[in-house]
Amino acid sequence: MAKKKSEPETKSDAGRDMELLHSMLLQRRFEERCAEAYALGKVGGFCHLYIGQEAVSTGTLSMLRPDDYVITTYRDHGQALARGMSPRSIMAELFGRQDGCARGKGGSMHMFDANTNFLGGHGIVGGHVPLAAGVGFAIKYRGGDQCIVCFMGESVVNTGAFHEALNMAALWKLPCVFIIENNRYGMGTSLERASAIHDIYERGAAYNMARQQCDGQDVFAVREAVGEAVERARKTQQPTLLEIRTYRFMGHSMSDAVSGTYRTKAELEEYMKRDPITLLRTRMEEAGTLTEEQLQKMDTEIKAVVQDAWDFADASPELPLEALYEDVYVDTTT
């Protein structure tokens, strides 16, 4: 249970590393265009970008099976992409169109996809953590060996919902992997100004729960920590609390300046030296598994995929007005 220093994987499968890099770069390029679309008024409402944290989503979700479950917060574009949801459906959702993954009714904060067991982005801080425990309960109820991964920001650990859910998950031995993406700030309030303890994976001690801290900029460190947690969930149905330390390179939302009033430009620049994509790329280049040409080709292809998603979203129809009253209730009873 003690804090464990993650050993980076040195022997890497070149093909797998290319997939990891692709997943992370897709999120980056996709969200750069989200910011552009927001500035153009094509995306409205709240929009929280994930740039800087891509190793957490990619590292985590690369360890799951298709029949596992994922639930997350409102900062959900990156995880939706890393889970394999179609960029078209995500962009169309952002544009509020009919072909969006939630029919344009959810928007940036509420990406859902039943096909990939992506149980949503949720907008109330902490509110989705009990849902994750419920999914874990259902897995156990049916006797399956799946797990549920629940992403949350570090500010969630101060909510009652977090405490109630983690206590039950540990008490009932539910196959949940709780992932705190500690990006240092809950909106503009630093962890140190919000939590009485700062190594927040230690909150797991209160629930006698397996817990670990790891580097969220290193996709291999994330994979290793999540891999152990997933195996624990599958084999023993025990939950795990992971604190994955990362950093958001953008503001909290589109209305927040990049560095803002609560952090310095120097701090931001310091963290940006550990860009997760650059770290992976460098490692691959050093290992001789990635050439400049390959990277350029990948980047070009990804930009085309993102442009295709944009064009698709732009061409997707507005919802008919009668859709307003659809999906409030299910018509049938069982």
Partner: protein, 326 residues
Amino acid sequence: MPIITYRDALGAAIKEEMQRDDRVFLMGEEVAVYQGAYKVSKGFLQEFGEMRVVDTPITELGFAGVGVGAAMVGLRPVIEFMTWNFALLALDQVVNAAAKMLYMSGGQFKIPIVFRGPNGAALQLSAQHSQAWESWLAHIPGLKVIAPGTPYDAKGLLKSAIRDDNPVCFLEGEMLYNTKGEVPDEEYTIPIGKADLKREGDHCSIITHGKMVLVAMQAADQLAKEGIRVDVVDLRTIRPMDVEAIAASVNKTNRAVVLEEGWEVCGVGAQVVDYIQRDCFDNLDAPVVRVHQADVPMPYAKSLEKHAKPDLPKTIAAVRKVMYLD
């Protein structure tokens, strides 16, 4: 026909549905080992085991959310709140998760869940334990809200609620659990959203639900002795509300009293009065009168509590008022 208590009618409904469908489970505080805080789930643990009859820590927010999460992936939870007073802590899960999931997922994730427990005042439990929440819950699109007043309705509607694919808030009453009524042995369900004309009359309508149905029936009995014939419309379901049944009654009697347990401001009765003015305006012979709890937190002192609650004399006085008899 067998006569059983409201409590046993509820228990029978849940038990039959658990026997019928193994996705149905009961979760809440003291539902298993203690056999139910109000003994609705007596014998359940022994019959169904601890995976399907689940005692929780005292965590309304937490276990309500566990229910919603389980429902998202195909189970059909029955979540018992020891009382709806405690469920206030769980409202984020009821409103932000259960009620909205289908909509904000574009129809992908239905939430077939029942949140149930006693609602409203009992006796001398004072302010924090004596509240009727139906107007809060009925305000929310995505929820169905049911408040049965008799054992027959309780059983038939709870079975329908458990089979419904939408989140249902099911409001019972501590003071109702020991009341008795006819409940057939054979299987039956009652459609959600249908009012029941509990008594027919042509002079005045009393529109009510839940615990107040009994008060309305007593009022109708007493008024009958004076030759006043009252229609008692038991809404049974608050959302969706049976507007046609309200209109049919009031357009027949031309006078209405709306009786509820909760507070006046923005209460269920306010909505009923709105439906009446929309659909019965030209037929009304008197302004509609509402009977409800006094606009104060519930006091402990017996005399004050009695004064605060809607009751038989207040209901009779309201009918006499709309009949211009006083």
